[in-house]
Symmetry: C2
Subunit: 486 residues, 2 copies
């Protein structure tokens, strides 16, 4: 009896194991990557501690066919800036996350490792200019990083390997096919990366950088663009309202406060905020009757462009949300001034930020970098993008063609903002009459209680200063912050 | 020991069961739907035999909660025309297929059955104007069908139920909420259907029709539109070339021959074939320097519009393929005349048809039908479509914005047609030098041998006539054919 039972137990244990394996497989291979997902995550407001953890490369080698060991120490290194563009619609954001590998950074590091341009993330001296959220794209995301170099002579950003006892540089072995640069010239970074990156992420340009140059701290300004159709919006009113954002203000009511990550002060500087038609040449000329441009074409596309030193979490999308309410005449432009007046309005009314897909991190300004030029890589990127544009534009016109047909049949145009579902006009509640989110002070208290923040009461009655427990940095307005998630 | 083992066995058995259930759930619930996918399929050229088989309604009732039995015979019936619009990108075509239920017709019949506007497809006297292929959309697909009516008095197309012995019409029971029309007015067909149809299929209009009126045989003309960007194409040359299609020609070299389905003659009449900009008002005025329109803007969208009595299988897409080759200057416009000259060119050169997603069955002409007008349904359809357009237009402009940026960085525009991948210019082989498909005669012979076609040799040396074995119809040019798949 016992023998039979033992056999039964053994059989069942194997069956359980088999089913568990199958479940694991059916849930995709992604779970193997879970171990890899614990990578450094940086708090938003500039704390630079690095976390110990599993290096990506050692885990990744399991997934690839056996790679020859590569001796990085015999190669020169070079500190460079890389300019990256990506369509963010299919990604869970730029920054690596624990619960998914569908991030732009994850793909970037896969490419950097596959091409052996870096040994691993932790030792690559990696900095990024900013982070973009799920669904948000970038034309100009800049990172700085130390890449393998082919220059055995001094150059900007180059670190040479140690010489051998005989006084020469180590041999680096036979270069892989198609990657040997002309003597005296650098590796073709863009070409190497674009060959292995997914189509919706492109390396557009690179620049050598002096040691210590940082994508995060040396960025002089960042520019975002938000695309939207006129629909029923009063775009001129929106453009006037947008001006009210310019200058240095406390934007706590125009962002999602991220106290838990150590963001405690909300003063930011906006250098420019404009709204203009996408097609500037067809702005129309009212004095010229021959120019047949419809000045109120609901199908005309506009750009909200905003340039700032640094941005808070979701700041641009909150700004856009306010502008859309103003454009729908649900709020007046004064609401912006009121929300920036944190003395009178210390707590943010509850309102949704604008949707993600129209937002693009369009420009990052780094004076002093000598961009090398994308060359052939730009033409390839352009050709691929033209095909994607063509497909998208054709679909847009299929919709538009049917809309024209419906208009001809007597259909009326929708009165609510076309970017969002549902009508907001029925039962619209003005912002200043809505319930508010917690105040900054309450949020701080919340984290102080949980031991996440320390409070230093000011000496001699000066203002209390808080700091995250994981950081030695004090937070004050003089310190530049990184671009927050938008 | 045995007790512990027994407990272990019990525990493991439960674990196995739990894991199996989880596997089943993870593999999805779709397998239950497979039973429902066997529906009728009709050959292309109008053979109207009905297939015996499971009616859709009896299978469908399993999926729904128990429905009260519905006595169709006590309701009036009405012969009507319905105008349907749909975005075909997510469907496997309009016509029902055996191996998938992801067709427009399948959804249409689900809606007609769910609303109890018909009892089943076989007895609904259903006719369709045409069929569109996978990926192809329609703004004006028309069907004729007998629907349940609420009119108990004579009206156009109305068939009254038999009176009861007491001389009155049968009671039809309590109407479902929200579907009781005002006394003397018809059921709100469009509203009822749109409530249950998927968002990408809309009922836009309806018209009462005399008994015998057929969407298939009473259609006077059909109009297609194909949207495309200029890119590097010579659009003026394409427009001139398109004219050569007008008239009555043998289009066997400009379609996919479908002899197996009984299509044996390829003469068709094209009433109009034009190419024009989508935005006709901005055609530009070269004499007016203030009109800043770029006459060669590669990003300008155009429409190829073609109107004909009836079309062959893939005819429009083959026509477009030729026009695209001409636009790329890979062929001259004369190629059209040459391919329509079946005496000189009896066999079709191998070439791919144009892609599906830009094609729309835009109009179907039925003189004499009194369309009732879509009313509120049109406004709803318009509002929904505006949101879809907005999303698509924003994405198009994100691409366009990046392309502008790349141009500013020095990228050159792609020289090959933007609608297709890959460059066609390298190693381009002129059409008349390519291998050819089988001739019509060879295809006929092929099917005669397989017993699918009968040949009647002409009497007194007249021309042989063929007919499909499943049809009593003779095929000759006098008989209008249905719109074929495009």
């Amino acid at each position: 009896m016992s023998d039979e039972l033992l056999q039964r137990v053994t059989y069942l244990e194997e069956e359980v194991e088999r089913l568990k394996n199958q479940l694991r497989m059916n849930n995709g291979c992604r779970e193997e990557d879970d171990v890899n997902k614990k990578t450094t995550s940086e708090p938003l407001d500039g704390q630079t501690e690095s976390k110990p953890g599993v290096t990506i490369s050692s885990k990744k080698t399991k997934k690839h066919s056996k790679q020859r060991p590569f001796d990085f120490s015999s190669h020169p290194r070079r500190h460079v800036a890389l300019r990256i563009a990506y369509l963010g619609w299919e990604y869970q954001g730029f920054a690596v996350q624990e619960n998914t590998d569908k991030t732009v950074e994850a793909r970037l590091f896969e490419a950097l490792l596959k091409t052996r341009l870096i040994q691993d993330r932790q030792t690559s001296n990696y900095q990024r200019c900013g982070r973009t959220d799920k669904g948000v794209s970038a034309f100009s995301q800049v990172i700085t990083i130390d890449l393998r170099s082919s220059l055995f002579s001094p150059g900007l950003g180059v670190t040479l390997p140690d010489k051998t006892p005989s006084g020469t540089y180590p041999k680096t072995g036979t270069p892989a096919k198609n990657s040997a640069p002309a003597p005296g010239s650098e590796l073709e970074y863009l070409k190497m990366l674009n060959r292995v990156l997914p189509q919706d992420i492109r390396a557009l340009d690179w620049a050598p950088a002096a040691d210590g140059f940082s994508a995060r701290f040396d960025c002089q300004s960042r520019t975002y663009r938000y695309y939207f159709p006129r629909g029923p919006l009063d775009v001129e009113l929106m453009a006037e309202a947008a001006q009210r954002f310019v200058g240095t203000h406390d934007f706590r009511n125009v962002c999602k406060m991220d106290v838990g990550n150590g963001v405690l002060q909300f003063q930011r500087t906006i250098l420019a905020a404009t709204i203009r038609p996408f097609e500037e040449n067809t702005s129309g000329n009212p004095e010229d009757p021959q120019a047949p441009h419809d000045p109120n074409d609901p199908y005309e596309l506009f750009i909200f462009e905003i340039k700032g030193l640094a941005f808070l979490y979701h700041q641009v999308r909150c700004m856009m949300a306010l502008l859309l309410l103003i454009g729908q005449k649900l709020e007046s432009p004064e609401i912006i001034n009121q929300l920036l007046d944190v003395g009178s309005n210390p707590r943010k009314p509850q309102y949704s930020m604008a949707v993600d897909f129209p937002l693009v991190l369009y420009g990052c300004d780094f004076p002093g970098l000598a961009w090398q030029g994308g060359g052939a890589e730009l033409h390839c990127a352009s050709a691929a993008l033209q095909q994607q544009w063509a497909r998208s534009a054709v679909e847009t016109h299929v919709y538009r063609g049917m809309l024209r047909g419906l208009e001809a049949m007597g259909a009326e145009s929708s009165k609510s903002c076309w970017l969002v579902e549902g009508s907001r006009m029925k039962n619209y509640k003005p912002l200043l009459e809505r319930p508010c989110c917690e105040s900054l002070e309450a949020r701080i208290e919340h984290f102080v209680k949980r031991g996440r923040l320390e409070r230093d009461d000011g000496e001699n009655g000066g203002e209390a200063v808080h700091r995250g427990k994981r950081s030695k940095h004090f937070h004050d307005s003089a310190q530049p912050s990184t671009t927050k998630l938008n």
